[in-house]
Structures are given as C-alpha cells and as structure tokens.
C-alpha cells in the first residue's frame, strides 16, 4: 500500500484524537457529571447537533455497503438510499420540542430515563435497557470489525493491528471526553464525509468522461441499470418503499438518535440543525450512491461490494487525495461506533446501576463507574471483534430494525398520546422484537412476506399492541 495514502489517514486519526482530548478538557460539571458525560450538558448548537445526528446515523453501510450495492443493482438502489433524506428533518421535528422540554422536566439523561418517567414503570426501563445493551452491543462490534477491515485493506496492516489502532483512537476520546467529545469529533467527521464524497464524485465523473458518457456505457451494458427496478428487474416498488420505514421514519425509534434530540441548547439550535441535517444527509447519500453506480463502467467486474469505494478512490484520484477521501468511510464508522459505545455505557451506568443497584451512589463514584464502564466495554468489544462470535453477528441482524420496532411507539405515542401507558409500552416492545425475529426467519426461508422489508410488519404489529395494551388495561389520561 502506498505511503501517500496512509499519511492523510494518520493525520486524520491524530486530529480526531486531539479534538476529543480538547473536548474532554472543556467538561464542566455545573449541571452534574451524568448530564455532562452522557449528554454534553444539553449544550449542543445547531451545527454540531446536525452533524452528530448525520454522522451517528451514517455508518459503514452508507459509505461502503450501500454504494457497493448501487454498483451492482443500479439506479434503483440510489432511489432506495434517498429515502434517508427524511431522517434529516423527521427525527427532530417528531420528537421535537416536547421531547426536549420533557427531558429537562424529568431530568432525563437517556431515552430510558424518559420512558421510565413517562410510564412510571421500572419494568419498562429494565426491558429497554436489556434490549439496548444486547442489540447495540452487537451492532457496535460489527462496526468495529468493519473499521478494522477498512484499515487493514487500506494500509496492508494485519487485521488485529488495524483493529487495535482503530480501537485505541476511539476508546481514548470517548472514555475521557464523553458525549461532548463524541459530538465534536462527529462534527469534524461529518465535515470530512461531505468533502470526501464531493471530491470522489467529481473524480469519478471526470474519469468516466462525463455523466452522459457514463450513462451510455450503463445503457449499453444493461438498460435495466438505469430503471428503478434493479439490474435483474426484481426490485419491486413495495420493497423499495418499505425502506421508508427502516431507514426513514423508523429511525425516530433508535435510542442513539433519540438521545440526541434532547441534547440541544435551544430551539434556535434545533431549527438550524433541521436545515443543516436535511441538506447534509441528502448530499452525502446522493453523492455516495452515485459514485457507486458511476464506478461500474470505469472499473467493471468488482465482486465484493464493500471494496468498490476504496478501489475506485485509488483508481481515479492521486494517492494523497485518495487518502483524504478514504478518511470519510473511516469517519463514518468511527462516528457511529463512538456514539454506540457511549449509549451502551449510559444504559449500564444510568439505567441499570443507578436505577436498580445503587441509587445513592456519590458523584465521585458515578464518575469512576462511568469512565470505568466505558473503558471496559471498549476493551470487551475489541477482544470480541478480533474473532467475532457467531451469536454477535446474528444479533447484529436485528439491531437496527428490532430496536425500531421495539421503541418507535413507546417513544412517539408516549410523547403525543395521553392514554398510552406502561401496559401498552411493554406489549409493544415485546411484540416488536419477537415478531421482528420471527418474520426475519420466515423471510430468509420463504422470501419476503408481502414483498416488503422485514421491519414493516413488526412496526405495524407493535402499533396495534401499543393501542390495545393501553386501552384494554387501565385506561387513564396521562398528565405530562
């Protein structure tokens, strides 16, 4: 591997490291250590809020897997990817000011704090904590593996060494800097993603001889590549549309997104984040997936989807520029991983330890436990990622859709429907997770039920469960 590619990557890692370190120095504990460590003291401004949402959400799949699939499937997959523009405004508008106000009223630091106060039920809290710890822990490990593999393929280092570099860079700033460090590094990583994708898109268009020439090549190869139905014509409108739930509106139910919706300073910050978030999400998704499909005529015959972006970057750009561009997928993985690490840590410290084990712990003790748990979690993830157990890979399949099906209604209807109660919430969460796993197995052996993505039915079923559970048992209006 070319040394010119590695230098920008090293500079990137050092810069992220430095920013995380500086952020950790800024921690002030006027509002209490927990608020500061897990929520950045609710002080995020508009730009950082938007970037941390986009960066947390955009992961290895947006930068490697997604464009790789667009390469194989064609424009139909970009159509699918563009359903994600909705997350830019939907999460913040739906959870909105009410979530931010109630979060302050209930003194909530995590999404589970909110659920616990809203439903006045320790059972809801413990069930949510278990779901978050299991699913997000697996998701995090999968992303670490992705990060390690990416460094491995870019630098030629051995996988374990690559993983170690990745782990150390993330672990240090998350452990010492908490949410503020995560949000600030996310902002820088988000900016790198924007610049990196733009440079690469321009590079690919030039290498392909302009958009019309690329399009002609695609048409000559297989006209279906430019239709919405995929290279083999099997991408149905119903299936693509069901991604509006999985990667669009359902994202409201993801704890790592919800917690950000109570971290902002003022409604002005939220308004700015709405605009910036929408523009940046759409820009990144459109660019990355266009790069994927435009790469096809330039470098035909790539079989491993995840390699399309690294290979095309090295092909069309000078090495030093490729290094800068390839920091973007790296940034995407890091910014997802750091948020998940902190979230799982908050679920353990705040939602399990302080709620159930030792509510009277002193501030000093809480501080030690938070930093300790975050650090230990990171080390466990690192060890597991060296040789990921099958169970983790398996659980990771449910992490995204399963959490959405579990939490979307307890959070959204908990905010807006006064008759929602703990019975509805519990029934909805259990129905969501169980039916997600059941339908996953059905779909993988018999093909997609009703031709839509696995997430669709569990989200509907958990809605019905929420309403039935709330109305059938103890119908009583809640006072916010």
């Amino acid at each position: 591997m070319n040394i010119q590619v590695i230098i920008p990557l090293v500079i990137f890692l050092v810069a992220i490291f430095a920013i995380g370190f500086i952020a950790s120095k800024q921690m002030n504990s006027s509002g209490g250590f927990l608020q500061e460590y897990f929520l950045g003291g609710r002080e995020l401004g508009g730009f950082v809020l938007a970037m941390t949402m986009v960066a947390t959400y955009g992961s290895a799949s947006s930068f490697l897997g997604g464009p790789g699939t667009a390469y194989t499937v064609g424009f139909g997959w970009i159509l699918l990817a563009m359903t994600q523009v909705v997350t830019g405004y939907f999460v913040l508008l739906i959870l909105g000011k009410k979530f931010a106000i109630l979060g302050r009223k209930y003194n909530a630091v995590t999404m589970i704090d909110f659920l616990k106060a809203r439903y006045n039920s320790p059972t809801v809290a413990i069930l949510s904590a278990i779901a978050i710890i299991i699913f997000l822990f697996s998701a995090m490990t999968a992303q670490w593996v992705g990060g390690g593999r990416l460094i491995e393929s870019l630098t030629g280092l051995e996988y374990t060494t690559a993983l170690f570099i990745f782990a150390i860079s993330v672990l240090v700033y998350v452990t010492i800097g908490g949410f503020r460090a995560v949000a600030l590094t996310d902002a820088v990583q988000g900016a790198i993603m924007v610049v990196g994708t733009l440079i690469l898109l321009i590079g690919v268009i030039i290498a392909g001889g302009g958009v019309p020439a690329i399009m002609q090549d695609l048409l000559n190869e297989n006209p279906r590549l430019v239709t919405p139905f995929g290279a083999d014509g099997t991408l149905s409108a119903a299936y693509v549309s069901s991604f509006w739930i999985l990667v669009g509106v359902g994202v409201v139910g993801l704890p790592q997104m919800a917690v950000r919706a109570m971290s902002y300073k003022s409604s002005r910050a939220m308004h700015r984040a709405l605009v910036i978030g929408t523009i940046v999400t759409g820009f990144i998704m459109l660019n990355m997936h266009l790069i994927g499909i435009f790469a096809r005529p330039i470098m035909p015959g790539i079989t491993v989807g995840d390699k399309v972006i690294p290979l095309i970057a090295l092909e069309v750009l000078p090495p030093w520029l490729a290094g800068i561009v390839l920091a973007a997928p790296m940034a995407a993985i890091m910014s997802t991983v750091d948020s998940l690490l902190l979230l799982v840590s908050s679920a353990i410290v705040k939602d399990v330890y302080l709620n159930f084990i030792k509510p009277e712990a002193t501030e000093r003790r809480v501080k030690q436990i938070s930093v300790g748990v975050t650090g230990i979690l990171g080390i466990i993830v690192f060890l597991l990622a060296i040789q990921p157990p099958d169970l983790l890979i398996f659980l990771n399949l449910f992490a995204f859709g399963g959490l959405e099906a579990a939490f979307i209604w307890p959070v959204v209807l908990g905010l807006y429907w006064k008759y929602g109660n703990k019975y509805g919430a519990l029934l909805s969460m259990i129905t969501g997770i169980v039916s997600y796993i059941a339908i996953h197995f059905y779909n993988s052996s018999y093909g997609n039920l009703f031709g839509v993505h696995t997430v669709t039915l569990p989200v509907l079923l958990s809605l019905i469960a929420y309403i039935i559970g709330s109305l059938a048992i103890q119908r009583k209006a809640f006072r916010f």
Binding site: I78, V85, Y89, L93, F480
Partner: protein, 110 residues
Amino acid sequence: MPANKQASTDGYKPDPRFKIAHKEALIGVGLAIFNFIWWFGFAYGLGSRPPEEYTYIFGLPDWFFYSCVIGFILMCALVIFITKFVLKEVPLDADPIDFNETIEEESQKS
C-alpha cells in the same frame, strides 16, 4: 423535581408550549408524506416506461432527476421555509413561567 407534579388534580393545565410542539410534529408528518408522494410518484410514474423512452437531464434519467435530485432540493427548500416562517422559538427549560403566561395571555385575547 418533575414540575408537572406541582399541578393539583383540579387545576391541571397542560404546558402551553406543548400546543406549539404538537403542531410542529404534525408539520413533520406532513413533510414526510409529501416527500414520499413526490419521491414515489416521479420514480415509478416516469420510471415505469421502457428505458428507451427515458429522457436525460444533466445526463441523469428523468425519473431519477425529478424524484431524487429535484425532490431533495425541494425538501431542503421546504425545510428552510418552515424553520424560518412557521416554527416558533420557545424556551426549553423545565418551568419557564414568564413565557407560559405570555402565551396564555395571547391565546385569551384571540
């Protein structure tokens, strides 16, 4: 302390800021529905023709250009418009008494 517990059983009044919040959440739903219809309509309305009949705008197939490129730009414009002219700035503190009183006075006048 959760502030909502201060209200007694008879004198309970929901926080007037929630009225604003509810309206803005509905705007979010409205935006998403509009976004979906635009996206779906152009993609499958224009895209279902045989590829030989497609026209190309800036080199991109027409269905894709309207659905995903124009659709995206349009959503950005809508979000900018809404945040500038429709969304209201409210304090987010647990108990902003002054602000709530002003809202109530305004709503009584109207």
